[in-house]
């Protein structure tokens, strides 16, 4: 192969001098990587949970992550359906349905590793669909793939989110960010993204007080949720109500 045109070569060389990482990015990334490496493995296999078990898991996680938002909703608003965590998540940019969202062929699927909190099967699992108002009949057919993989994924998600929340409570935002990052990248169709975003937003401003962009965006997206209240408290943001009262 002949050498590249000198002008193009010069352009690339000059341009790449400005492609240096932002200051601090290396150390932040290394911290996060070390946190992953040091994170003890989760239970690799868990027994299959019934549909109601999954629901309990989601509710437990929401409670753990400060999700008492249901109590803050107006009484006229039905709790189930539109205001479930799944519904809140649906306010985010639309995602492909599990059946229409196969793993990208070119995406390397991580093998089962001792430090990986999610089994490969769990990583491939489609987004579980907890429907709190409709208990699953005992004879309900199993969704493909097997419910156990969905339950495993959800359980692993809930565990990760709970640990991230715990890290925040222990004033370890970087650890929380690392766990959020792991949650974001470790699941093909994560269920608890709203909880993760709330934790990540809080952690970002706990790491750096002026870094409130994520928090502001989250509060804007979920203004009435208790998660937003918690983000406001942790990041020192003033709520719209307080602002209007002050005026």
């Amino acid at each position: 192969m002949e050498p590249l045109d000198p002008e193009l070569r010069q352009l690339i060389d000059d341009g790449l001098t400005a492609a240096a990482p932002e200051r601090g990015a290396e150390s932040r990334g290394l911290e996060s990587l070390l946190a992953h490496i040091d994170t003890p493995p989760l239970t690799p296999t868990v027994p299959a949970a019934p549909i109601l078990g999954k629901l309990a898991l989601v509710i437990a996680t929401v409670v753990v992550t400060g999700g008492t938002w249901i109590a803050n909703r107006p009484a006229s608003v039905p709790v189930v359906g539109a205001d479930t965590p799944a519904a809140i998540e649906r306010q985010d940019p639309p995602k492909a349905k599990p059946s229409a969202h196969p793993p990208t062929p070119s995406t390397p699927v991580p093998p089962q590793q001792p430090t990986n909190p999610v089994t490969p099967a769990a990583e491939k699992a489609p987004r579980p669909r907890p429907e709190p108002h409709r208990p699953a009949p005992a004879t309900r057919k199993a969704d493909p793939p097997a419910p156990s993989t969905t339950a495993d994924a959800l359980r692993a998600e809930a565990d990760l989110i709970a640990r991230a929340e715990s890290a925040l409570n222990r004033d370890k935002p970087k650890e929380a960010l690392a766990l959020c990052d792991f949650h974001r990248t470790g699941f093909d169709a994560p269920q608890l993204t709203t909880e993760r975003k709330a934790i990540a937003a809080s952690a970002a401003c706990m790491v750096k007080q002026t870094d409130t962009e994520l928090a502001t965006a989250f509060v804007r997206a979920h203004p009435r949720s208790a998660l937003a209240t918690k983000v406001r408290q942790r990041c020192g943001l003033v709520s719209d109500d307080e602002t209007s009262q002050g005026q």
């Binding site: 790449l16 492609a19 990587l33 990208t104 990052d181």
Partner: protein, 196 residues
Amino acid sequence: MTETKPWVHSPVVGAQPRQRRDPESAWVVDAYQTHFRSTWALVGRLGVPPSHIEDVVQEVFLVLHRRRADFRNESSVQTWLHGIALRVARRHRTRVRRGQTDPLPAEAPAKTPSIESAVHGRASLARLDALLSELPQEQREVFVLAEVAQLRAPEIAQVMGTKLNTVYSRLRLARSRMKASLDALQKAEGGTHGAA
């Protein structure tokens, strides 16, 4: 393609593992320290938005960490890592197109020694990225792997899972398009300056 550039191997200064680690973890940390900057430059040229680069680079090394047991000495760590970066960048671009990414703050301006060099470097980078964005994705990937990551054609074929002849063909086309675009840009700028 054989000359080593400063951004290709720039170990992270002062970043040391905090504790004694098992050999596999130490291997991942070592790869991070050696290839962080080159991965950063590579991911940015593969079409990942600037404010997402840190996130994507992090994901690349997390994949490396998860898949470390799969690494065989059939290729260098750098080549393997670039293959991971290529796939993670592809996946991220897809997510950006679908609007599935979390909102991220804008990238803070990088600190550079002088204003002149910073302005020149950033202008060149913006121009380079603009030219790259005009290439078809396959050609862009081959061009970036060859001219930014400085991989050899057989390595690119291995990373992309394509035939060697396809790599040569795409690289030839990409170079030709890049050169034509650069010439057109310079001509337009010359005309603008002349008019002014």
